[in-house]
Amino acid sequence: MTYKPVPLPPGPAPGPAKPDQRGSENLLGDTVVTSTAEALINWGRRNSLWPFPFGTACCAIEFMGTVSSMHDLSRFGAELVRFSPRQADVIIIAGTITYKQAPILRQIYDQMCEPKWVISAGACATSGGFYDCYCTVPGIDEIIPVDIYIAGCPPRPEAFLEAIVQLQKKVDRETLRVSQALGTEPRRDRIAVGA
């Protein structure tokens, strides 16, 4: 098929163009939307967060409840649960992390591609919960950086949904420059939900 240029709509009468008439929207009409690359990419990222459920304990059962049809995580574009860290954008740590589990969690987090986000679901992942014991990690932020903390033991499915919504807002606020130019992770502002 040969390319036929779309005829331009009849523009205003020739003459010295005013500054606000030179934009591509003016030239192309409503066939295009302009945006910044940042906003476009964040829009895509925000609405297709693929979670990696690092479920180890009771909270994982509530995550199953969140995915199931009653609460339906797919309404927020995050239902495509991936069990490979390479394919996931957000890792949801649902359950107690023990010292035996900790190196694995770190390894999996390291295997995820940037950009990546972390949701710490439930009291155990957030602070160790009521297991203040020789074998439990008192909060996964000892091991990996966390974006969203969810309260509850276990959190209700609504709290999981709230966490996804908050994460989407956070993704929107993120800038590409820091991570691209410096190769470092963007500064993480921590959000708590469900309390």
């Binding site: 690092f54 479920g55 180890t56 304990a57 009771c58 994982a60 059962i61 509530e62 199953m64 409840g65 199931s68 049809s69 009653m70 069990f83 359950g95 107690t96 023990t98 035996k100 589990q101 694995i104 999996i108 155990c124 009521f130 297991y131 203040d132 014991c133 020789y134 074998c135 439990t136 033991c153 276990p154 209700r156």
Partner: protein
């Protein structure tokens, strides 16, 4: 790795690590397998990834403070653990709970068994790729959660029993709600059975996979549905009846070959039997006190506390110190969803448990898993693992 087989052949074995972060291992189990082609020659299993010190933590608090921890043993059926623990402590006191409490506990036990089997079967089917059944079963589970919420406010970790009774009597429409949920259970089971029972793919992936014979299952100490799937007709509810289970008519469900198919089907049909027990128990539910009147366990009523010195002191003692079972060692068990859930309690007569050893039902199943998978294909691991229903919370404690 290069290895010489028992027959003296030189074989290049491939070792592959399954878990602990693998969808079929549910986050906390690990099996290291040596493969010849796709056949598992040897499997070394490991556990402990969710070992969160249950037995150490509960020595730090009183007996009542153990109850929330028991919720998190088998978190798919939290109430069962509550009731099992309370039953063991009540046995130490020599206290029997009032009849209404017994009936309510039976209803809760059987509903918990249903929702445990729902999760087990649907997770197993998801591991096999049959995702639809997950939606069907989880809808029913959500309906049961609604009852739990009305009962105590929590969905998963309920802590609804107390030593010597219940946290409170059930709400007025409890029986109606349960009776409304039971047909949903039955229709969901019927739907899922219709989808899988004669399904060629399902049968191919589960029939004669992970076979455990009756003698093997007994030797490994298996109990519960997995033992029954191997054709051993043993169920604590029948063999050592507690809570008046001998008054209810129900069948134990047994399989023949002890393969994955049987284990799934035994669970599926046990749900129907449990539903029938629920109905019978509700029919016998009569008004009455829900907590024992034994002053060592139950708080006196408010009016007594305000007018009677002894009741006031008793109330103080129970709240600030907790219950004190007589010194000694006692083991008590009940038929949980996974098998025999037992508590060996060592009491020194004080307010804190001296030592509690849990007898988790799935420990025996997971210990047998390595030998069970020898000679199977790697893809069978997921199917067989789901069918023995390992719950990491009670396995690792």
């Amino acid at each position: 790795m290069k290895a010489l087989s028992p027959a003296g052949e030189l074989v290049e074995l491939m070792t592959i690590n399954v878990g602990p972060s693998h969808p079929a291992t549910h986050g906390a189990l690990r099996a290291h397998c040596a493969l010849d082609g796709e056949t598992i020659i040897a499997a070394a299993c490991e556990m402990g990834y969710l070992h969160r010190g249950f037995e150490k933590m509960i020595e730090q608090g009183t007996y009542q403070m153990v109850l929330p921890y028991t919720d998190r043993l088998n978190y798919c059926s939290a109430m069962m653990n509550n009731i099992a623990f309370c039953k063991a402590v009540e046995r130490m006191f020599g206290v029997t709970v009032p009849e209404r409490c017994v009936r309510v506990r039976v209803v809760l036990l059987e509903l918990s068994r249903i929702i445990d089997h729902l999760v087990c079967v649907c997770a197993n089917l998801v591991d096999l790729g049959a995702l639809t059944n997950f939606w069907y079963f989880f809808n029913v589970r959500e309906e049961v959660y609604k009852i739990w919420e009305k009962l105590c406010g929590a969905r998963l970790t309920n802590t609804v029993t107390r030593i010597g009774g219940m946290y409170r009597d059930v709400y007025p429409a409890f029986a109606d709600d349960v009776l409304a949920v039971l047909p949903l259970v039955e229709s969901a089971v019927a739907e899922v059975r219709g989808l899988v029972e004669k399904n060629r793919i399902f049968i191919d992936r589960t029939k004669d996979i992970g076979v455990v014979t009756a003698d093997q299952a007994i030797a490994w100490g298996w109990t519960g549905p997995c033992l029954r799937a191997s054709g051993v007709d043993r169920d604590l509810r029948k063999d050592e009846p507690y809570y008046g289970y001998d008054e209810y008519t129900f069948d134990t469900v047994i399989g023949q070959t002890g393969d994955t198919y049987d284990r799934i089907m035994v669970r599926m049909i046990e749900m129907l039997e449990s539903a029938s027990i629920c109905r019978q128990a509700l029919a016998k539910l009569k008004p009455g006190p829900i907590n024992t009147s034994d002053a060592r366990l139950s708080l006196p009523s408010r009016s007594q506390v305000y007018h009677d010195m002894e009741a006031l002191i008793n109330s103080f003692k129970l709240i600030y110190e907790g219950v004190r079972p007589p010194a000694g060692e006692c083991y008590d068990a009940l038929e949980a969803a996974n098998g025999e859930l037992g508590f060996l309690i060592v009491s020194d007569g004080g307010t804190n448990p001296y030592r509690i050893k849990v007898r988790p039902p799935c420990f025996t199943q997971w210990a047998a898993f390595g030998p069970m998978m020898q000679g199977a294909m790697l893809s069978d691991v997921a199917a067989a693992l789901g069918s023995i229903n390992i719950i990491a919370g009670e396995l690792d404690r």
